[in-house]
Amino acid sequence: MKASTTNLNKRGYLYTGIGLVTVWGIVAIAYPAVVLPSPYETLLALLELSRTAQFWHSLGVTFWRLTAGFGLALVSGVLLGSLVGHKLVAYQLLRPAVLVVQAVPPVSWMLLAILWFGVGGGAQIVVVFLALFPIFFFHIAQAVRQLPTDLLEMAKVYETGWIKTIRAIYVPAMKPYWISALAITVGMGWKTIVMAEVISGQTGVGAVMNTSRIYLQTDEVMAWSFVVACLGVVSEAIVRKLSGGERHDPIR
């Protein structure tokens, strides 16, 4: 049953993909390439791009910024989330502040960050951090608040020690929240960093996309969009594969 569902899912992706590309190809016939390049032209543009050093350099720059912003958000979100998960007062105090951070559009943060730090001063990293931090914060706070106190009491009475308690209770109890937070943030991170670079210009995937737009190289914009979308989907799939699926390792 499970296997056949998976097959259907996989075939579903395939059929939908073929369908979309077909529609895209048909619509592209009606318009000039500068408005809508065909799938074939986009593929050619992608191959062309991938042969340039700038392509890989831009990817590298963007990936580094994403990693830095993601790492900062992860560490601070987990630390503060754990803190407020344990202390209700801290949660009530910090929650509105984090909600405000989340409510301000990333574009606004980007413009402010450029004004404050300049385009070369890590403004993109700041924006990724601000976009992802609330997600870690709320997920971890929630995960800590729902920790099974009955099981923790049991572990305390039986003097299992904190290493075993973390492995056998904290990790599996918090796992669904972890998976959810990571899956959301890796996907969102790629979109946010590229958006930030489009605005800041200069370097990175977003900046190159913006240059292509200025020169009306729509096929390159499409090719880059495809690359970024794939990176988002693939990173999310990797996170789910690494963290989900298999059962928690029993301690032997």
Partner: protein, 225 residues
């Protein structure tokens, strides 16, 4: 030794214990009785160090503690066997054999690979009993441990508890509503009295070859000022 010394406990704004002192007999099974909500569970939690009294102090015996909670409290992501295994030190040899033997003793030998969600309430309770016995506790706290078990299983569990007690002579505090059960198991039967609880009455007991005196108890009443 174990001793509850002038305990005062409030729970949710309500005074549960007021200046309550009690010294259970060491290496004996003491059954705790009293109307529901009187604070029997609180007393066990205080004895285990899970709850602090507002006033007074508790002296606990040295050594391992076993606790059968009212709910099974099994790890849902571990199998029956793993639920016991993870408590034992990694380096202890023959731990698998010990776990198997205990699970056999509680009649769960055939279900070791199942997860708690796949078990009935009574089965989970039996795993929780096996877990309490696993570490050869010096001090065993049991909160209505045989609730929800059918009569035959309950008899088997009585036998198991008594044989464990014979082997290791732990100090046992057992909360129960069932006088028959208390008489079968307890060396002492204590009924908590007062609201809030200020003292207790010791009930007569078959095992101590005393007369049946449920209705006119006062063999010994301690009321500390």
């Amino acid at each position: 030794m174990i001793r509850f010394d002038r305990l005062s406990v409030t729970y949710g704004g309500k005074s549960v214990f007021a200046n309550f002192s009690f010294q259970p007999a060491l290496h004996a099974i003491t059954c705790l009785m009293g109307r529901s909500g009187v604070g029997k569970t609180s007393l066990l939690r205080i004895a285990a160090g899970l709850q602090q009294p507002d006033d007074g102090c508790v002296i606990r015996p040295e050594g391992r503690v076993g606790y059968v909670f009212q709910e099974p409290r099994l790890l849902p992501w571990f199998t029956v066997e793993e639920n016991l295994m993870w408590l034992l030190p990694n380096r202890s040899v023959q731990r698998k054999a010990r776990v198997r033997a205990l699970l056999d003793a509680v009649g769960m030998g055939a279900e070791t690979a199942l997860y708690p969600a796949q078990l009935s309430g009574g089965m989970k309770q039996r795993v929780s009993l096996a877990r309490a016995f696993l570490m050869s506790p010096r001090f065993l706290l049991m909160d209505e441990p045989f609730q929800g078990l059918d009569k035959q299983t309950r008899m088997n569990m009585y036998g198991l508890l008594l044989s464990l007690w014979e082997a290791e002579k732990p100090t046992v505090l057992l909360v129960t509503h069932d006088l028959e059960e208390a008489r079968t198991l307890g060396h002492h039967i204590i009924k908590l009295t007062g609201s809030p609880v200020t003292g207790y009455t010791e009930l007569a007991n078959k095992r101590m070859n005393m007369e049946d005196e449920w209705n006119e108890p006062s063999i010994r009443t301690e009321q500390l000022a």
